[in-house]
């Protein structure tokens, strides 16, 4: 099937098998390997991307479901090293990551959270990342990272 998907601002037209998962479309067909696969069952959230601005798990969506829609992956958040998204800055400043494998999904989930709720409480952050599993950090520094991002976003970014 032919699909046309806007990914990180660029429209890609590709012939794909109907069963091709969105995560494999991004990783294999477009070479965007920042989106990871951690469980294949929508539990761990490592594959989280934005679909039309909403956080979704790309391991349980077909590429054809993204036809005609807009996808943002972690690679699309910052145009270069000097212009990080506030959430990326927060993760760096607050040591919100260790092995980095869950990180792109965490960043996509929490950047979507901050769009809806620019000033979340700690409990709201912890519930927002319920669908994202991190084995390294114990989550506390991820919470700090999101709070950091909320603070600097208010500072005019």
């Amino acid at each position: 099937m032919k699909v046309s998907v806007e990914v990180n601002g660029q429209v890609h037209e590709r012939e794909v098998a109907p069963r091709l998962l969105l995560v494999h479309f991004l990783r294999e067909n477009l070479g965007l390997t920042g989106t990871h696969i951690g469980c294949e069952t929508t539990i761990c959230g490592a594959c989280t991307v934005h679909l039309d601005g909403r956080a979704v798990k790309s391991c349980t969506l077909f590429a054809v479901q993204a036809d005609g829609r807009r996808v943002t992956t972690v690679e699309g958040l910052a145009k270069d090293a000097e212009h990080l998204h506030p959430v990326q800055t927060g993760f760096w400043e607050e040591h919100g990551l260790q092995c980095g494998y869950c990180t792109p999904g965490m960043i996509m989930t929490t950047s979507a959270l901050l769009k809806d709720n620019p000033n979340p409480t700690e409990a709201e952050i912890r519930y927002a990342i319920e669908g994202n599993i991190c084995r390294c950090t114990g989550y506390q520094q991820i919470v700090n990272a999101v709070q950091h991002a909320a603070r600097i976003s208010k500072g005019g970014r």
């Binding site: 469980c39 760096w92 390294c136």
Partner: protein, 751 residues
Amino acid sequence: MPVRPISVGERIKRREDPRLIRGLATYTDDIKLHGMLHAAFVRSDYATGKIERIDLAQAHARKGVIAAYTFDDLRGKVQPVAVVIAEDRYIARDAALDVAVDITPGRPVIDLRGALDPTKGKVYADHADNVALAVPAANAAEVEKLFNEADGVVKLELVNQKVAPVSMEPRAVLAHWDEGPQKLTVWTSTQVPHLVKQQLAQCLGISEVRIRVVAPEVGGGFGCKIPVYPEECLLPWISRRLRRPVKWAETRTENLLNTTHGRAHVHEIEAAYRKDGELLALRGRVLSDVGAYPSFFGPAIATFTPLMMPGCYRLSGLSVEVVCLYTNTMATDAYRGAGRPEAAYTVERVMDAIAAATGLDPVDVRRRNFIPKSAFPFTTASGAVYDSGDYGPTLDKALARFDYAGAKARREQARAQGKLVGIGVATFTEICGLGPSTGASPIQRTGSWESGAVRVEPTGNVIVTTGASPHGQGQETAFAQMAADAFGIDVGDVEVLHGDTDVVTHGVGTFGSRGLVVGGTALHMALEKVKAKAARIAAHLLDAKPEQVTFDGDTFRVAGGERNMTFRKVAEAAHLWNVPVPGEEPGLEAVARFEPTGTTFPFGSHLCEVEVDGDSGEVHILRYVAVDDAGKIVNPLLAEGQRLGGIIQGLGQALCEEIRYDENGQLLTATLMDYAMPKAHMFPRIELDSTCTPTHLNPLGAKGIGELGTIGSTPCLVSAVLDALRPRGVTHIDMPLTPLRVWNALQGAAK
């Protein structure tokens, strides 16, 4: 006086992060090579059985399938029985389903305690029983005497359940045999690239100088990426046969079935005590499930458990037998703590049991038994030699931070209102930076040392290589700090390379909290060698004797004069060499290997407060305070990360995690929908503080920090929950403390 700020000890943010937060890091499955094929494994549906037939015809017939191979023998759940190689991973998976495998199932041995009785079943028909390794208890007679002198004895049977490490990146392997140069390159998600290279050389009969193993970005390990796995040997073999690169990325289900598990102990322990709370002796038995095919460190881990069972305590006798048993389940191996969490869990349960039996405060019982500061270095009842320790101040700091007296008063008020509130405590120590190598077995094919190398470029910028293989710990940052401080250069002018056997001199890897303790010390030694040579070069160029030259942090100075030369100028001169230095070679680099003379014993005191919902059995953690002592810290930001992550991982075992098989050996927890991982909303903010008792065993004074969290937090939480349930008559519970298990304990006690 150093003229530049010292970065060691500072909260420097990580240099690893920019690539990771932008999605630009390269994990094994991110690599794509020209002509690359994909492998999919066919695994046994039965825990044990006899293969009657494997039919590859249909798989071979599928378009896009390049090759398929079978195995003849089968034992142990999910052992691969065939592998299919195809042009893409979807076709490979389809073709794996095409393979017809007829197996006559056998009767599996699943339960650890059941494995003790060979009449109920044997994993190996030609063995007399299921015992893989038995280490008899020592000192039985002396311990018997201590038991006779005791005022009382508590007896515990504790299950330390089987859990899965669940690194967020499952395992992955990409093998490429390059027929031209006759060279094998293997990218693999491992903690020990050098050991993988050694084992591949042996397994494949290829000289190790023609093998390059790369651990690219590695998404967590926690011990399960230490063993060298069959897939790591098989893919290179296939690539060499097909002369094309072959990749395999483990699914999460394969990971839960087929990557090593941790813990899986049963402890039967008796403790002799006096009525003043003194623990006199421990005796009993450790049963350890090593699976059908014991893994790399598997059986050794169980022997750490009696070694570390004395914990922070001065008991006089210990007599604990170890029995490792085969079962038809996945093997156990190192999992964050590896043998020490099991020991700490048991001795802390013993402390609580003594407190309950004597009516003493659990904190007082622990303090009563602490090894005093003056006794270090201390040889424990199990023969371990503790390097340094000062447990009292660490406990005091935790009690003050927790407001222990206030918490106890609040608990009494809450109990008066019928609430199930409990306070838990764990005081613990562990063994890190294993060595010396005299304890190494030839099977390991490596000693306990680590390598570090420093190469100074003509500009004075520095390349550090380390045999450690960090996979989230942040040693690129910590080691850059050390090198920058050594020469007074910017952290940004240091590159740290690791995880590539063609780039790094032979090393060992990252596990057992050894990265900084052993690997960092090797780097320190290499930095000192380079500094000494730079000083000799500087002395010659400054027309001074070496003993007249001092280094102030970035410049060599001649005592009592104005003559000086910066480190960067020395680096330039060492390469330009237009003024040769007699007796020296040009260039500025060094390799060092640190061989530990002993092991380090970091420690901590944790306290937590829980409330149990008596109707649902749910455990709510209200507060958690951790005061740890890992000696000197290079980067507090990274150290906190290690501790916070470990604490939650240990709480995961206490609260929810468990690998479960049914009686036929089917894994019931084969996805993350069934295997319950700790999640963010389950925990309050962990409150951290620390003390610093350096070790004399390495020049950094560092004791190791990676595993403290999992060792302290598991017993601390169970201590709190039992404290909450005790007024209702519950005296025993096994992990994980799921709502069902807690509710059942309450119902059982009410009867």
